[in-house]
């Protein structure tokens, strides 16, 4: 394979921000027809490297080569012209524009200087078919669920007929089915001579799909090798220098306590007629394809969207909770999937975020007790190992640490039920493990944890029971010993699996 020339290559590139080196003399070469994995924990420098390869940033040192020729001043336009397309982790779609317009944005076919909508439609339809987008092309992107938007983003990259395709965590918001479509697509592209750079936190995906891997740790390349003879455990070792065998804490069956949630005929948003019950000390997994009502189920229980039930008892309250305030008062806490938009106030201090739910609890003579608040913040930061000055904006933290803040802020209320919506999405391996350990500890301390996750292994390894949603209904409830990845994915896809008690 090395006889061909890399389409894009970085030689000894380094980059720093405000004096902090983020990349140190990094080499990477993307060859045509090869699917190249880029691995590393959050903050290892993956995003910065992508930005250098796509011209969004200029390296402080080293060279970028396109087709073997050094390019001194690579611009985003230059990179695009050379055939580099990037699918960013943060979606860059215009919600008001249609699917077709978004796909063609910036590269719209023109006729007489006007947008040629017919050509746009035809070509957009072609790439949409490739990625399995079946929605009408004139539908505004804002009406699509997150996972489908991700597919639009990928279609948008394909629209430009890239020679080099960079995918930054493309599957983090995709369902298992969509991820499968994407894998097939990546293989087809590679077979057609496209160089693919694939960034993901999901190691089994990387193993199944990629030929070659570059591992970054603290801004340096720690491995650059073929993936042929590396196991998933080996990959984690390369990334963290730690054995992955204990990524999940040992499973301990719940000593089922008091029943905290019982709903019959529960409907909310996309959820239809669900019966569900859970006890203190349990970890209950919520699985299924993306957007089958799982999120609405949590939000409905939490009083954040209107819900109905024929019978309900939640934390001793004999009816559904009508508002978030009522839910938090009853002992529920909700950690949203989109922590930047829903879980945190990014432009406020870490301390302000940590105090938000418990405001009004620490008072002295009718005013906020500054001393008490400061020691509470310090306690939480220590307990969750959130390091550094808590007066910094929460924006300044890495994804994993942001997630810890989003979780930690509820602790002062001593919630009895934690509703967690994909708490490890976009979180690095090290922090994931910390979060798993916390969940285990919470459950052992008698809290009920309802864990909605798009990462099936989490459901398999952490949960006492896994409830699988499909089209707003519960299609399977799998006990721990029956909850294999195959059983969960099978139920999610609507396949009848033996031994599944619905």
């Amino acid at each position: 394979m090395d006889v061909t020339m890399p389409l894009v290559e970085a030689r000894g590139v380094s980059k720093g921000f405000f004096g902090n080196p983020v990349l140190k003399a990094v080499d990477i070469a993307l060859y045509p027809g090869r699917v190249h994995a880029l691995l590393g924990e959050n903050g290892a420098g993956k995003s910065t490297l992508i930005n250098l390869l796509s011209g969004a940033l200029r390296p402080d040192g080293g060279t970028i080569l396109m087709d073997g020729r050094p390019v001194t001043k690579l611009t985003p336009q230059g990179a695009r012209a050379a055939g580099v397309a990037v699918v960013q982790q943060e979606l860059s779609l215009a919600a008001e524009l249609s699917i077709a317009e978004n796909i063609g944005l910036g590269a719209t076919p023109r006729r007489f200087g006007l947008i040629d909508y017919r050509a746009l439609r035809d070509r957009a339809a072609a790439v949409s078919a490739l990625v399995g987008l079946t929605e009408p092309l004139d539908m505004p992107v804002g009406d699509l669920p997150l996972g489908r938007r991700q597919m639009v983003e990928i279609a948008k990259a394909l629209f430009r007929r890239p020679r080099v395709l960079i995918l930054d965590e493309p599957t983090s918001s995709l369902s298992a089915h969509e991820a499968g479509v994407l894998s097939g697509l990546v293989r087809t592209l590679a077979a057609g001579g496209v160089a693919v750079l694939y960034i993901s936190h999901r190691l089994n995906e990387v193993q199944a799909l990629c030929d070659h891997v570059t591992v970054l740790k603290d801004g340096m390349v720690t491995a650059d090798r073929s993936l042929a003879d590396v196991s998933a455990e080996g990959l984690v070792r390369l990334m963290v220098g730690r054995d992955p065998g204990d990524a999940f804490p040992a499973f301990a069956p719940a000593t089922a306590g008091e029943e905290l949630i019982r709903v019959d005929g529960f409907s909310a948003g996309a959820v239809r007629d669900v019966t569900f019950s859970a006890r203190a000390g349990e970890i209950i997994g919520i699985g299924g394809l993306i957007g089958q009502g799982q999120e609405d189920f949590l939000l409905g229980l939490y009083g954040a969207i209107p819900a109905t039930a024929s019978k309900a008892e939640i934390c001793g309250v004999g009816h559904l909770l009508a508002s978030v305030a009522a839910a938090t008062a009853a002992g529920l806490a909700y950690v949203p999937a989109d922590r930047k938009k829903e879980g945190l106030v990014l432009t406020h201090a870490i301390s302000a975020n940590l105090l938000l739910p418990s405001l009004g609890r620490l008072m002295r003579r009718g005013l906020r007790d500054r001393t008490g608040e400061a020691s509470l913040v310090a306690d939480l930061a220590r307990q969750f190992s959130i390091r550094g000055d808590t007066d910094r904006f929460v924006q300044a933290l890495s994804g994993g640490n942001q997630q810890k803040v989003a979780l930690a802020k509820w602790l002062p209320l001593a919630p009895r039920v934690l509703l967690l919506n994909d708490p490890t999405r976009g979180v690095d391996v090290g922090t994931k493990r910390e979060i798993y350990l916390m969940l285990r500890a919470f459950a052992d301390a008698g809290k009920l944890i309802v864990l909605l996750s798009s990462d099936t292994p989490e459901l398999v390894h952490l949960c006492d029971r896994v409830v699988v949603f499909r089209q707003g209904r519960v299609v399977a409830t799998l006990a721990h010993d029956k909850a294999s990845e195959e059983a969960i994915v099978g139920a999610a896809m609507g396949l009848g699996i033996e031994g599944v008690a619905a």
Partner: protein, 316 residues
């Protein structure tokens, strides 16, 4: 401390920057212009600043929560016309009239909040509609004529000088202390900042969005009402349009003080020097006998300049 680090601190702290600018203008103008630095003149500047500062107290809360109140001028006019009409003759102190008028002002503010909470009308539309509605109502009630005030309490507010300090400044100090406590020392203040910065997160964190919004707009109405009473006390007459100059100046004072117009960030600590800076600029234009056109040009330039200086730095 090195000069570089002083400018750095100033640029990072909008309230301090605005305050420094006020001090600079006062010192330079006081030394070079005859009459500007006289105690009486400076006291007069503060007296006028008090009214803008009190209106801007409500405006600060509203802007912090992510909204805007375009009805403050109309509420001032309403209070200035309503008070003389409703103050009962049997109450020689005038306090009954004051209380009732302030209650009306707060209810108008509450109405602004209700339109947003229950009808989902955006703040800018709701308060604009409210202002237009009130102006129409006033024309019907008062016609074109001015009403004179005989209410003792209001006359006292407009003219008394306990210990040599004008009553309006005393009222401003009370309002300022109250608003600073609300923003920085009460849970309500922290909730309204969170709501202004990210409504969705605030809601999912248990902030009662409806109640917070209602309270903020009711407070804005109340503070406009207080300012209206002071304006009336100073003028001794209420007429349609008396509150108009205070709408834009209240927003300008908030923005000059470094509060983000997008909500969620800022403090009344900046609005205070912001209000003084606005009045000082006006006084300066008057003292040097320049055209009032220059006043508006200066306001516009000042707002842009301060926003660019401190806004750019704060983004880091």
């Amino acid at each position: 401390m090195k000069a570089a680090s002083i400018t750095r601190i100033l640029f990072r702290n909008p309230p301090l920057l605005t305050l420094a600018l006020v001090a600079l203008v006062w010192i330079v103008a006081g030394a070079t212009l005859r009459g500007f630095g006289a105690v009486g003149h400076l006291r007069y500047i503060l007296e006028l600043s008090a009214i803008i500062g009190i209106v801007a107290a409500g405006q600060t809360l509203v802007i912090l929560v992510g909204g805007i109140d375009l009805s403050v001028g109309a509420v001032i006019t309403v209070t200035a016309i309503l008070l003389p009409l409703i103050s009962p003759d049997w109450d020689s102190t005038g306090i009954v009239g004051v209380v009732v008028t302030l209650a009306v002002a707060a209810v108008i503010g509450l109405g602004n909040g209700m339109g947003q909470v229950y009808l989902s009308v955006p703040a800018i539309i709701m308060t604009l509609a409210m202002a237009t509605f009130l102006q129409g109502l006033l024309v019907l009630i008062a016609g074109g004529s001015a009403v004179s005030v005989t209410n003792e309490a209001v006359i006292w507010l407009g003219s008394a000088r306990p210990f040599g300090v004008p009553a309006s400044i005393v009222v401003w100090i009370l309002v300022a202390v109250a608003v600073l406590i609300i923003i920085h020392r009460l849970p309500f203040g922290a909730r309204l900042l969170a709501l202004g910065a990210n409504p969705l997160t605030a809601r999912l964190s248990g902030v009662n969005v409806n109640r917070t919004t209602l309270a903020v707009y009711a407070l804005a109405g109340l503070f406009s009402g207080v300012a209206g009473l002071l304006v009336l006390g100073m003028n001794r007459q209420g007429y349609v349009g008396i509150g108009d100059p205070y709408l834009m100046t209240s927003i300008a004072a908030v923005v000059l003080g470094g509060t983000s117009i997008l909500g969620g960030r800022g403090s009344y600590a900046g609005t205070i020097p912001g209000a003084i800076l606005l009045v000082t600029t006006t006084a300066l234009i008057t003292v040097v006998n320049a055209s009032p056109g220059w006043r508006s040009i200066m306001f516009g330039s000042l707002i842009l300049a301060l926003l660019l200086i401190s806004g750019r730095e704060a983004q880091r």
